[in-house]
Structure formats: C-alpha cells, structure tokens
C-alpha cells in the first residue's frame, strides 16, 4: 500500500532481515531501473573493481576522460541576528569551466538551507534526498526537523558510503527551537557544530577575510558586507571559484535571499581600498 511505504512502516519479514544483518543498500553490477520509489537504494558498481580507484584508472593516458563538475568556495557564520550563508557559483570539470551560474544552496524548507561544495552530482543528489527525508519527518511527526537532526541524517548517509570516493562538503544552516544552527558535514562523516565555517578549495582565502572582520555584535549590513567580501576575495585568488555571490540570511522567521552579485563587479568596487 502506498501509505504504508510513505509512513515508513516495514512488514515483519523486512525488519527481521535487518536484524540478521542484511544491508539496507545493495551494490549490484546493474541497477534495477524500474523499482523507483522503493526504500532500498541500489547503486551499480564495476565488477571486480574498487569503486574509488576505478575512474582514475579509466582516465589514464590514452583512455577516456570522464570529468565531473567540482570546485567552490562557500562560507557561513552565526552572529547576533542569525546566520549568513554565502556561496560562489562556479562548476569546473577538469580544466574546463562547465558553468558560471550554478546554484550551490539548496532550500530544504523555509527554515533550513544546505550548501554544496565538492562534487556537484554528489551534493545535489544527497541534499535532495535530505530534503525528501526532512519533508517526510515533518509529515510523520507534525513538527519541523531540528538542524542537528537534519545534519545527522546527512552525516549518516555519508557514512554509509565512506571510502567509496564521494566528495561532499556541506553546511546545514537553520533556525529551530534551540535558535540559529550551523553544522558542517563532509564525506568522511565529520559533523561539527560551530560559529563559522568555510568549505571548498577557496576556503582558506575566505577564512582569512571573515576572521579578520568578524564581531559577534555586527549589524546586519556589516554581516552582509563581510560575507560578500569573503567570497569575492576567495574567487579573486582561487581559480576554481567565481561567478556570482549568492547570499542568504537565516532569521528567526525563516531565510531570505539577500543578493546575487557578480564577483568581478565587487572586486572592481573594492579596488579603491585595495591598492
């Protein structure tokens, strides 16, 4: 029955299988494409090969060149008036720039945001799955999921595939009963709660800028400017970040999208003060 599946109730035969240790996810050589909607997730793996090294061996000299979209700078910090989330918008595939206007923030619900850095497909897929789980939680329990629980769900998804070559560096930001929440989750299963994080290959530049300008009692406008500067300066120095700055502000009554500004224009504006 559809309702039984949506509400997550499992018939006894399936639960007893789990108690005796069968895996929730199956790795097969060929996926069954026609079982969409099933709770068991299937991934195809190359036969007799270790998945994380497989693509690198295919990409060797003389072979094919399979490149996946990568690269970013994202940052988020908590302050008195909520959480600021700022991301760039570049996706690179090897040395080729696949796109300069990717959306790296997923709007899970009006009180939860997720950022994406690392492999674009991994982030998009797992965070969409997280959004689905958050929605199901809301329907089953009649209250919104907490930021801690949402980040834990994502962390456990990552741990299920640890060592297989996923690349996800995500920040889950939200406002729940405990107040503003900010968690960093990555593909190794690290899950950290903190006041400020920056991820991606440009993160060191963003840390430098935000660390030097951060005060807990900033005004909202100062916080916006700090987030903008952090991303703009990181894109200026990191080849794999660029495009536009997408900025969100998580407040008590939900998030708002603050701006979407081209980094070259921002750097132009800052140039007066730079030299």
């Amino acid at each position: 029955m559809a309702l039984v599946e949506v509400s997550g109730l499992k018939p006894f035969s399936e639960t007893s299988g789990q108690i005796f240790g069968t895996r929730q996810t199956h790795l097969v050589d060929r996926t069954n494409h026609y079982s969409f909607g099933s709770s068991v997730r299937e991934f195809a793996v190359p036969v007799g090969e270790e998945p994380s090294g497989f693509l690198t061996s295919c990409n060797k000299e003389g072979g094919v060149n399979i490149e996946m979209n990568h690269g970013t700078t994202t940052l988020a910090f908590k302050f008195r008036h909520g959480v600021i989330v700022a991301v760039d918008s570049r996706a690179s595939a090897g040395r080729y720039l696949a796109s300069n206007d990717v959306n790296k923030v997923i709007e899970i619900n009006p009180y939860l945001l997720g950022t994406m850095s690392g492999s674009a497909a991994d982030c998009q897929y797992w965070e969409r799955l997280l959004a689905k789980e958050c929605r199901l939680y809301r329907l089953r329990n009649n209250h919104r999921i907490s930021v801690a629980a949402a980040s834990k769900l994502l962390c456990n998804m990552m741990l299920g595939y640890k060592g297989m070559g996923l690349s996800v560096g995500s920040m889950i930001c939200g406002w729940d009963k405990e107040g503003p929440g900010l968690y960093y989750v990555d593909e190794n299963g690290n899950r950290l709660s903190g006041r400020m994080f920056s991820t991606g290959c440009g993160n060191s530049y963003a840390y430098g800028v935000v660390d030097s300008g951060y005060r807990e009692d900033m005004t909202v406008e100062e916080a916006y400017e700090l987030g903008r500067r952090g991303i703009a300066h990181a894109t200026h120095r990191d080849a794999y970040s660029g495009g536009v700055v997408n900025m969100y502000h998580m407040k008590e009554d939900g998030w708002i999208k603050v701006c979407k500004e081209d980094v070259s224009e921002l750097i132009h504006r800052y140039r007066e003060g730079m030299f």
Binding site: Y34, P46, G63, V64, S119, A121, Y125
Partner: protein, 237 residues
C-alpha cells in the same frame, strides 16, 4: 576495445623499449566523439548534433545523429560513448512509458531532467560515459535547456554545448547569445530564424577545427506545433 597502451596505432606495435611493467587492461569505455548543442528561446528550443560516429582514427558512420526525440516537447542530445548513449535512451524511453501508464500524462521537460539526474546517479560508481543535454518546452511553453555531467549534476540553462567540440562552441555562444564580453550592444531577444542560423554557423566552425565533428548536422526545432527536423551537410574530411 583493447586498451591502447601496447599499440602505436591501427595494425602497428609500438617500438620496443624497456618501459617497466605495463598493465594492459580492458577498458569498458570508448570515446565515440560527436558534439551536441541546445538553445532555448522565448517560445522555442533547438537541439542540434553532428552525425559522425568515430573511434580512434576511424569513422564508423557518417549518419549517426545524437538527438533523440523523447516526447512531443522534449529532445535529448547524448554524446560520449555510443553504447552508453543507446542504453540510456532506452531506459529513458521505458521510464517515460511507465510514467505515462501510471500517471496518465506525458512527462514534462523538467520532470525528465530530474529523472535523468537520478538515473545517472544510480551509476555513480560506474558512470554512464555520456554528456547529456535536454532541450524542450516547459509547462508555460517557454524554451528550456538542461545540461548534465556524466554522474547526474544538472541545471537549467539558456544555451549549452556538450561533447568533443564543446570547449570551442561554448565561448562563441556566450558571446553571441549571452552577450558576454561585448560592450555597448543592445540585448535583443533571440528569434527562431536567427537561432537556427547561429547553430548552423557554429557547427560549421566546429567541423573546421575538431576532428570528431563533421559529416552532417541534424537540427531539431521544438515549438508548440511539434518538432521539426532538418539535416544540413558539413565537411566530410
């Protein structure tokens, strides 16, 4: 195809010199070339591809277009490894039929794009070596283009080039359709005639400089009146 490490080309062995231990393994992938392009307009979409199927130094076929019609309002262009392109389009066709039977409506372009993303990701650890671009009309009748990477990351664009000559075509489209790097130019909306002419010109340029692109160009123009296909000859050398 056997991995090319021990061979210097078709019918020749590499000159012998001591190179240490060499591992010759079977590669499940091959690169069959081809370029695909999609452009979205106000009330139309264009998906175009060349028709050359190559492998290494050989051309297998001069008449193998890479655009596949999915529904009356959606066309997909797939380039990369031809075997994976065929299987992927078969799977998409089957899923479209299943959707039609269970939901009594045709899948919209956005839904097909989301579905393709999960199909590609289910092969995250053994990817389909295909670069996909979907072109079609969205629910409001506006042109839509969705571009993918081999493992399913996707986004909606106005124009996108994929395949072997993509790095040559994309900057030209950025300039002509996106008006990038042009100053003091009026941003006129793209008409259907201008778009088709631009696509033809762009492929002629690609055929000049990319060995895997050429022979003929298949253009599919998608409007609310249906899908119109044209074939234009390109350089055969």
């Amino acid at each position: 195809m056997l991995s090319a490490q021990g061979f210097g080309g078709p019918g020749k062995m590499k000159e012998y010199h001591y190179a240490g231990a060499v591992e010759n393994r079977f590669s499940p992938y091959a690169f069959n070339g081809g370029t695909v392009l999609a452009v979205a307009g106000e009330d139309f979409a264009i998906v175009a591809s060349d028709t050359r199927l190559s492998e290494g130094y050989s051309i297998h076929s001069r008449d193998s277009p890479k655009c596949y019609k999915l529904t009356d309002t959606t066309v997909i262009g797939c380039s990369g490894f031809h075997g994976d392109c065929l299987t992927l389009t078969k799977i998409i066709d089957a899923r479209l039929k299943m959707y039609k039977h269970s939901n009594n409506k045709t899948m919209t372009s956005g839904a097909i794009a989301a579905m393709l993303s999960t199909i590609l990701y289910s092969r995250r650890f053994f990817p389909y070596y295909v670069y996909n671009i979907i072109g079609g009309l969205d629910e409001e009748g506006k042109g839509a283009v969705y571009s993918f990477d081999p493992v399913g990351s996707y986004q909606r664009d106005t124009y996108k080039a994929g395949g072997s000559a993509s790095a040559m075509l994309q900057p030209l489209l950025d300039n002509q359709i996106g008006f990038k790097n042009m100053e003091g130019v009026q941003h006129l909306p793209l008409t259907q005639e201008k778009a088709v002419q631009l696509v033809k010109d762009v492929f002629i340029s690609a055929a000049e400089r990319d060995v895997y692109t050429g022979d003929a160009l298949r253009v599919c123009v998608i409007t609310k009146d249906g899908i119109n296909e044209q074939t234009i000859p390109l350089r055969k050398d």
